[in-house]
Structures are given as structure tokens and as C-alpha cells.
């Protein structure tokens, strides 16, 4: 029983990081219908920007903010100058996916060329450990959970309570109709990629803090569970991605706690497949779409 409670706690901590990244990924996809595989390498970039800042005495949480801003800007650049022109020229969605894969590989090699292939770390973790309802979490894990919750709430308020959010949702639902209503959809796309890129950057640094040790492969490795979380929640649905992140995180930890740890990720992906067989649009796919049209 104790291990069960502990594993749920570990899963929430891991899920918070996944949720951060999955929400950003889902917002990008929902807004532009582009499956952006470069996302993983951008997370890696964020982890190394964080390292660069921390090595120069910047507080890790300030480094997270810095990396978020930098990767947000990089995401806008990627979309505006590479992906959007391809989409405008009528490039097939599959070809655009391949372009994002290629861009991710190029970015990964640039990172290796600059920072080297060796494992890196933000340093020895010496924070306090918290015991809550039988769960054990480090100070940094608690901070990441709080941060993820705050960012998710902020995104929720942005999407539902602001003109910008309504414009984003309108653009996501029907770009041409949104344009005819006077919405500058290009600007809205830039804002969406900025926000999702910032979440990607925050997730990259949060991941590096959680894993403690990382190298150039950190982002691409975590991209798959992150996409799984987004798909589980209903691709393009930010709220679904939040829940999907938690489900994948908790399922992985429970599998590690009660089965052969080597197969922990297999169990998580097995759940994903079963879930999609039962609900092909993901946990929140249909419901959120309905709300989106009615809001």
C-alpha cells in the first residue's frame, strides 16, 4: 500500500513535467495542425540554455523562465520562416512532418557540436524532501508541480477569459472564418507558437531538473511519452494534454513499482492504445470540441 501511494506521488511529479510539454505541443497542433517533431530538440535546447545560465550563477527557476522565453522566440521563428511558408505552398502534411524531423536532427547535432556529447547536470540536488499523505517529493518536484499547475491555470484563463484566447480558439476552429471576422490569424499563430514554445522551454528545463543528469538526447527521448499524453487527452486539446500527462506519468510509475521496471513505458503505451480503441478522439476530444464551438 505504501509503495502504491509513493508511486502515485512519483507519477504526479513526472506527469507534471509531461503535462507542461504536452500542453505546449497540443496548443501548437491545435492552432496550426502541424505535428512538430522539432519540439523534442527544442526541449533539449532549453535544457542547455538553462545549463548555460545556471553555470553563470543564475537561479534554476530564473533559468527556466529565460529558456522559456528563448525557446518561445525560436518556435515563432521556426513556424514563421520554415513551417508556415511550406504550409502556404501546399506542402503535404506528411512532408511537413518530415521537415520537422529533419530540423530537429539538425538542431540536435548543432547542440552536440557546441556543448559536446557528455552527460550534463545542473548540479547536486540538495533540496528538502516533503512527505505528504504518504507521498515523498523533493522540493524541486513540488516546485515543478506548482509551476505546472499555475501555468495550466494561466493558460486556461487566457483561452477562456481573454479576447486573445477567444481569437486563438477561433483561429484554431476555423482559420478562414476567423480571418473574415477581422482576426489577424498570422499574429494569433505567432502568439500561439510563442506560448507553446515557452511551455516547451519550461518543460525542457523542468525535465533536466527532474532527471538531474541529461545529454543531447533528452528532448527527443521524452517527445514520445509527451505526444502520447497529448494524444491520450485528445490531440489539440490543452486540458486533455494536462490529464494525459498525469495519466502517462502515474501509469509509468505504477508499472515500475509493481511490474518489471524495464517494461514501465510499455505498460503506459499499452494503456494509451487501449484508451484510443475505446475513445478514438482521446479522453477530452469530443467534449472539448463541443465546448469550443459553444463558447
Amino acid at each position: 500500500m505504501q509503495l502504491l501511494i509513493e508511486a502515485i506521488g512519483f507519477g504526479i511529479a513526472a506527469g507534471a513535467v509531461l503535462a507542461l510539454g504536452a500542453v505546449g505541443f497540443s496548443v501548437q497542433f491545435g492552432m496550426s495542425n502541424i505535428l512538430n517533431i522539432t519540439y523534442g530538440s527544442l526541449m533539449t535546447l532549453a535544457a542547455y540554455i538553462g545549463l548555460f545560465a545556471i553555470d553563470r550563477g543564475v537561479n534554476p527557476w530564473a533559468a527556466l523562465a529565460l529558456a522559456g522565453i528563448a525557446v518561445g522566440i525560436a518556435s515563432v521563428a521556426l513556424h514563421r520562416w520554415l513551417l508556415a511558408p511550406l504550409a502556404r505552398r501546399g506542402t503535404r502534411p506528411f512532408a511537413i512532418v518530415i521537415v520537422t524531423v529533419s530540423a530537429g536532427i539538425v538542431l540536435q547535432y548543432v547542440i552536440v557540436a557546441v556543448a559536446g556529447p557528455d552527460a550534463q547536470s545542473y548540479g547536486e540536488q540538495s533540496g528538502q524532501t516533503f512527505h505528504l499523505l504518504g507521498m515523498i517529493m523533493s522540493a524541486s518536484q513540488v516546485t515543478i508541480i506548482v509551476l505546472a499547475t499555475v501555468l495550466m491555470l494561466g493558460l486556461h484563463l487566457l483561452l477562456t477569459r481573454t479576447t486573445l484566447g477567444r481569437a486563438m480558439r477561433a483561429t484554431s476552429s476555423n482559420r478562414i472564418l476567423a480571418q473574415s471576422c477581422g482576426i489577424d490569424t498570422d499574429l494569433i499563430s505567432d502568439v500561439a507558437w510563442l506560448i507553446s514554445g515557452a511551455l516547451c522551454g519550461a518543460a525542457g528545463v523542468a525535465l533536466a531538473i527532474t532527471t538531474v543528469s541529461f545529454d543531447f538526447s533528452i528532448g527527443p527521448i521524452f517527445l514520445i511519452p509527451m505526444i502520447a499524453a497529448a494524444v491520450l487527452g485528445g490531440i489539440g486539446q490543452p486540458y486533455g494534454a494536462m490529464v494525459g500527462g498525469l495519466v502517462v506519468g502515474i501509469a509509468t510509475e505504477l508499472a515500475a513499482a509493481f511490474s518489471n521496471p524495464a517494461y514501465s513505458e510499455v505498460v503506459a503505451f499499452g494503456i494509451l492504445i487501449v484508451m484510443l480503441l475505446v475513445r478514438p478522439r482521446g479522453l477530452f476530444g469530443a467534449a472539448w470540441a463541443t465546448r469550443r464551438l459553444m463558447a
Partner: protein
């Protein structure tokens, strides 16, 4: 009729002779010759998560080729290392190695072919008739019928048994095994499972963990609940650092001792783990077990001096000179080079027959520990017996020479100190 027959036979016979000469036949064999520098393939991961291996295996190649070229090369040929990137992934290794074999000029010897990809790369190189000294530990090669294969490092099962011997000798009777899910690590399990009970120890639990996961907290919680005296460990630097950091966090700062392979005796492993759990733990509580070799012999001194002399290997020399597989690769290069001289050919299918003759103990032979001495003795028409950095090789019928074992500890600067030896006979006995 007889006359007609003889008139008919003569032109046929002449034609046959002409054909035989033209085709290089005539009942004898022509030894192929090569021109230009020779290539020594270092088949290892140079990119990807296991890229550290490529760096480690390039160094003995640099050291050996520096010495060979300084001694005038092999039968007039200079020799150069050629990096062949197997990426540590069989899917990439097969096309990369196949392409290298097809396109590399005078690729006459190879080293490397480590465990992650050996199952696919070893047959390729063997089929190309290129003699090679592999550093893989796969137990599937403990018995084989590969003509061009040689291994001077122990199989993974023997390494596993050596881990058990050292753990029990340190008083660690209750151990947990934590291995990353790769083929090399898994190969240690049979040896550990066979040896531990015979030594009076107990394996409390064994875990296989995925590499580079976001969290190992649940796995760590299970290990902590087992209360092991020590962990028998095998994982890459990043996985190790993440796991041990979590262990420290969840166990109030207390970490168990660790027995692992000398494969981890790398700057990357040392730095990654030191950064997250501190240098004191890394230098005091991690034992690294692997192939033993005497670090006072002339052969070793030549090897270490060569590593220190080249700018490409100078920095890594202190670590490298304590690790078995690279030393085995260095010895292998010398053995193959001397076999080329003995066979008067640089072609693998020809000189391969002389590889074992170079190391075979024989009365009256000149014992040599480096290429230059061996070359000089052969030039004088003497028989030689190569006893290199790893000592006297004792190849069995499958071209495996396991040798002895030792245990090492990290120093604060990342170099290593040998702290004890383990008898190879004891290890093999535990596997029986």
C-alpha cells in the same frame, strides 16, 4: 589415328596451359599484394549515447599505430586508424560496417565490435576475411566457429561472476542487481546467479531498468525496501546519475556501495555521477571490476608512454591505462601486425593463419612486448612469443582468452587505482 590424336591433343593441351597461366592457375596459389597505407578499422559507436566507447577504443589504435609507424610500418606500409561508426545500434551498424568494408582501401584488420552491435557486426567482418580483436563480452561468442575472430577480454558471464566474488570479498552478502536493459548488462546475469549462492551471498532482488527515463523513483523505492548491502550495477552515465540522485533524495542522503564493470571507468561516468552525488561517494563506494593486467611490465610502460605521447590520447591516458578492453585492442593490433610480417602478407585471409603463432608459448622463442621488438626479432629470423599489456594470451579453440580480473577505484581526478585482483580460475570455476 594415333597421329591425328596426338595432333589434336597438343593444341588442346597448349590452350589449357594458356588458360591456366592467364587465370593465375597452374596448380599453385598467388599471394595477393597490396599497395599504399593500411587501414585499421575501429568499429565502435562514435555518435549516439554510447559514443564514449568510440573515444575509448580509438585511443589504443592511435597508440599502436604511432608505435608501428615509428618502427617503419608493416612491410613498408604505414598504417592509419579508420573510424567506423556502428552508433551502438544494430540497425545503423549493419549498413555502416558493410559500406566501410566495401569502400575502405586496404582494410586489413579491425578492433572494437562492442557488445551492443557485435551480434550483427562480427559476422560481417568475419565474412570479409578481416582478422579482428573484439571487445564484446557476449556469451554467445564464448563458443563459435568464426575463423577471423579473436577476443582477449572475458565474456559477460565471467564478468558477472567476478562481480560476485568482489562483492562477497568486501562483505556485501545481500545484494540487489540493477541493470540497464541492454544486451551487455543482461549477459552478466547468468554468472552472477551462478556465483553468488556458491560464495554464500544472496541476491535479494534483480531489476532491469530502462535507459534515460524521466524518473526512477519507483524503482529506487523498491531497492531501498530491499535494504541491500550493495548494488551490482550496470548502466550508462546519465541513467546512473539520475538513479543515484533519486536514491540519495529518497534515502535521506545515504547511498549503497556499488560494484560495476570497468566499462564505467570513463571520464563521462565519473563526471556525471560526481556532479549529482559528490566526489566522496564516487571515490569511496564504487568498485569497478574487469580484466586484470600488471601495470609494471615493460609492455604496459610502452603502451602508457604511447598514450601519453600523442596529444589525441594524452588526457585520457590515466584512465585508459587501467581498463582491460582497450588494452586488449592494443595487444590485438600488435599481434595482427606481427602476424602480417610473419606471413609476408598484409592480406587478412593470408596472415590470419599466423595470428595464433605470434602468441603461442614455445621453447627458444624471443619474448616480446611491443611491435618494434617483435619486428626486429622476426627480421633476424627468430621465433617470437608476444606477451603484451594483458600478459600471456591463452586462446582456447574458440579464440577467446579471458585472463585474470581486478578491482579498481576512482581517484578524485577521475583516474583509477587498482585495489585488488581476482583469480580467473576461481571465476571460471564458479561458472561450471
Amino acid at each position: 589415328m594415333g597421329t591425328l590424336k596426338s595432333r589434336l591433343v597438343s593444341p588442346l593441351a597448349l590452350g589449357a596451359v594458356f588458360l591456366m597461366v592467364a587465370c593465375g592457375g597452374g596448380g599453385g596459389t598467388t599471394i595477393p599484394t597490396q599497395t599504399g597505407p593500411l587501414s585499421l578499422g575501429v568499429i565502435a559507436p562514435f555518435t549516439g549515447p554510447a559514443a564514449e566507447f568510440g573515444k575509448l577504443l580509438s585511443a589504443p589504435c592511435v597508440a599502436a599505430t604511432d608505435l608501428i609507424n615509428a618502427a617503419g610500418g608493416i612491410s613498408g606500409h604505414q598504417i592509419a586508424c579508420t573510424s567506423i561508426d556502428d552508433t551502438g545500434d544494430a540497425a545503423d551498424a549493419v549498413p555502416n560496417v558493410t559500406r566501410a568494408i566495401a569502400t575502405t582501401t586496404n582494410l586489413d584488420m579491425a578492433i572494437g565490435l562492442e557488445s551492443n552491435t557485435a551480434a550483427t557486426t562480427v559476422p560481417l567482418v568475419n565474412a570479409a576475411k578481416i582478422p579482428f580483436f573484439t571487445t564484446n563480452g557476449l556469451t554467445s561468442f564464448t563458443k563459435n566457429n568464426l575463423q577471423y575472430y579473436y577476443r582477449m577480454t572475458p565474456g559477460d558471464d565471467a564478468n558477472g561472476a567476478a562481480f560476485a566474488v568482489w562483492a562477497v570479498r568486501q562483505g556485501y552478502k545481500n545484494i540487489d542487481i540493477v541493470f540497464q536493459n541492454n544486451i551487455g548488462s543482461e549477459g552478466n546475469l547468468p554468472g552472477l546467479n551462478a556465483a553468488m549462492p556458491k560464495l554464500g551471498g544472496k541476491i535479494v532482488n534483480q531489476y532491469t531498468i530502462p535507459a534515460d527515463a524521466a524518473s526512477y523513483s519507483s524503482e529506487v523505492a523498491r531497492v531501498i525496501a530491499d535494504k541491500p548491502d550493495a548494488l551490482i550495477w550496470s548502466a550508462d552515465p546519465q541513467t546512473t546519475a539520475t538513479f543515484m540522485s533519486s536514491y540519495k533524495q529518497l534515502n535521506n542522503g545515504v547511498l549503497p556501495a556499488m560494484v560495476t564493470a570497468t566499462d564505467s571507468l570513463t571520464p563521462d561516468f565519473f563526471n556525471a555521477v560526481k556532479k549529482v552525488v559528490g566526489v566522496q561517494y564516487v571515490t569511496q563506494s564504487i568498485w569497478l571490476v574487469g580484466s586484470y593486467f600488471d601495470q609494471t611490465t615493460p609492455a604496459f610502460n610502452t603502451y602508457k608512454a604511447a598514450l601519453l605521447a600523442d596529444a589525441k590520447t594524452h588526457d585520457i591516458a590515466p584512465v585508459l591505462s587501467t581498463v582491460g578492453p582497450p588494452a586488449g585492442a592494443y595487444d590485438g593490433i600488435n599481434i595482427m601486425a606481427l602476424a602480417m610480417i610473419m606471413a609476408h602478407s598484409t592480406v587478412g585471409s593470408v596472415y590470419n593463419a599466423d595470428v595464433l603463432k605470434i602468441v603461442l608459448p614455445k621453447a627458444g622463442a624471443v619474448v616480446v612486448g611491443n611491435y618494434a621488438d617483435g619486428k626486429a626479432a622476426l627480421a633476424l629470423g627468430k621465433q617470437i612469443q608476444y606477451v603484451g599489456v594483458l600478459g600471456q594470451p591463452a586462446f582456447d579453440q574458440y579464440h577467446n582468452s579471458a585472463g585474470e580480473f581486478d578491482a579498481n577505484k576512482f581517484n578524485a581526478d577521475g583516474s583509477a587505482t587498482q585495489v585488488g585482483t581476482i583469480s580467473g580460475a576461481q571465476v571460471i570455476g564458479l561458472l561450471a
